[in-house]
Symmetry: none
Subunit: 203 residues, 4 copies
DNA sequence: TATGAATGAGTTTTCATTCAT
DNA sequence: CATGAATGAAAACTCATTCAT
């Protein structure tokens, strides 16, 4: 007899609206009233589902990382070799940066900037980055070993490649018109292969 | 008879204060009040020298790009070969990201995020990126030719490396604790060398 | 379930408060704070119902012209002859200027001055004036024809009489102590009658 | 040896600049900085010559009334009969309203609105109006007597005609596009003549 | 759950005025 | 006389949040 809770759906609507406003109007203009308008809801209702604005941002970060992980898992399931698994990662990550969902990419960049000094955002962002780093480092180590190389360079390589990915999101969002089309995934993979190829062999 | 103008100095003081507040408190908290406090000036005076807050941001962008250019010119003067010139560029650019001036780096990342939706910022940011891209592409082409390779990969390579640099600023600013120390410059140079080494020869 | 809207009532309260502040303190002092105080509301609430101060002014212009029109319609319904209809107009218009609602009169004068350079105000003010001019010209033409005269002078006469009315508002608001009491309506009517009486007959 | 004072000239430059800014930008925007810019002087210098902004307004009122008086005196010197003197007055006054110096006319209207609640302005404005009223009443009385009529209607007639003049300034400034061209002076004179012609004779 | 009015602290910006030079 | 930097109070407007309905 009682009304069915629609909280989960509402929270998602709100988070999605926030994502869109963030990407299309920037952090400054992503006000509760703007989010409410985008979601076709009222400010009061937003505060019924999220007690503070920061909470929406937190949920958005979770959503974005979850979406990426899902995509990677999907591609991963079809990969057999270390090289294929590495490629799955790069493609899952960079497909976003090369046009698949520019709003999510822009939002991620804005979140990254907010992370610099907003404590809670920083924590979540840094956790996500740390997870990525571990994951990528593992994939690289496997690939190195598979190629008969030492895995010692995996850590620096992972950090550098993660930088490349984050940076390509930034440039795709704020200077797309000056960048070559779809350069990132291919070049990154080539770079890895050549880097590894010339790495000293594991004696 | 008339009072001596101190506008240039004041504008610089204000711009520097803005840089510091931006880096230390984020864009949201970089209010005119906060800038005034940081510069030990009054809000009214800020507006006497800059008619809008956006104007300060514009000046900051100019300042930051000028500083980088100066540093590169300096290192460049001592470089003889294409390889040395390339190294000069990477070092000039990444020295910033590896501890030399973390405030400027953080400010640059925040500007990059602002560029996503603030028209004037975007224009200036994109111009700066386009300049970098041309410069880096030129340096890479020279290096490739010098190594007896085709220069055709210079463009994609430049875009990728620029992404790496921008991304390393982002990660240095928002997730430094998870990143290896001083990984970027060395790894990037190594990557370039190996990439070029395995590039097909120019027939 | 949802809260009942009181926007219409609030907008009217705010508009009325604006009218009073305008009349009693002048345009300069008619700040949002002052309006809020007069209406016993908060400044934030004023901006909840009107997005800008100009919007309140626009609403006030509409209100004032509507009130005048209603008064004229009321007197008009009892008028039978062209002369009576003309008198109804003059009385409806000048009653305002002779004590009935000095606040509305003063506000109208201030609006007239604002119209000189505030584009939107000018448009609305000029529209109101154009309406009055057409109306008065029509009434005068009827009266002239009824008196067996040519109607050709109606246009200039209407413009002149409208000037008289606007001017009497001005003087009633800013120099009442030097003006005779209740001079306007009577003198204006007498003037019209004598002017028309000596107008050449329509052959 | 000492520098010659240019105070009088400076005060006039400032007053004229104020007139122009008032007419072209309205009261709200007639700031000291705007006046300074219009006069090509500095804000500090304005305050050297006038201690407050109100003082400039006072000087402007004086200037405007003086200019009008001078014009009237000029025309008056050529007038022989009461009718000619009356015509001289109407022309001196309405020439302003019909295109000769629209900036001065607009400024006068704005001053009239400010007079409603700014005490000092009101005093000066009301004094000017009282002077006009006395003058016009005298001219009308002379004309009435000259025509063999009682002068008793002169007071109400003067008040009405002064209203017409003030109102025509208002309409010329804020709704010129809807008004007939050069209607005022001619119609006003005709009105006076016909009004007086039908006035009962002085027994 | 949902609405939308309401608040109050905060934001950028303006401006008359002062004053050192 | 003249400049132009500097101030401080006040302006319009914004917004996260609360709350009555």
């Amino acid at each position: 007899m009682s009304r069915k809770s629609n909280t989960q759906q509402r929270r998602q609507e709100i988070t999605t609206a926030f994502l869109r406003v963030l990407a299309n109007q920037g952090y400054e203009k992503a006000t509760i009233q703007a989010i409410a308008k985008e979601a076709a809801l009222t400010p009061g209702l937003i505060h019924y589902h999220f007690s503070t604005k920061a909470e929406i941002l937190v949920e958005l970060i979770t959503t974005l990382t979850t979406v990426f992980e899902a995509r990677f898992e999907d591609l991963l399931s079809r990969a057999k070799t270390p090289h294929e698994r590495l490629r799955a990662y790069v493609e899952a990550r960079l497909a976003k940066g090369e046009g698949e969902n520019p709003e999510a990419v822009a939002a991620w960049v804005i979140i990254g900037a907010e992370a610099i000094k907003q404590e809670e955002v920083r924590t979540l962002y840094a956790q996500a980055i740390a997870r990525e780093l571990r994951l990528l480092q593992g994939l690289l180590a496997d690939y190195l070993l598979d190629q008969g190389k030492k895995e010692s360079s995996a850590r620096h390589l992972a950090a550098t490649l993660l930088s490349t990915m984050e940076g390509s999101f930034q440039l795709a969002s704020a200077a797309a018109e000056h960048m070559p089309k779809r350069y990132a995934a291919k070049t990154v993979l080539l770079m890895i292969e050549r880097f590894v190829a010339l790495e000293p062999a594991n004696k």
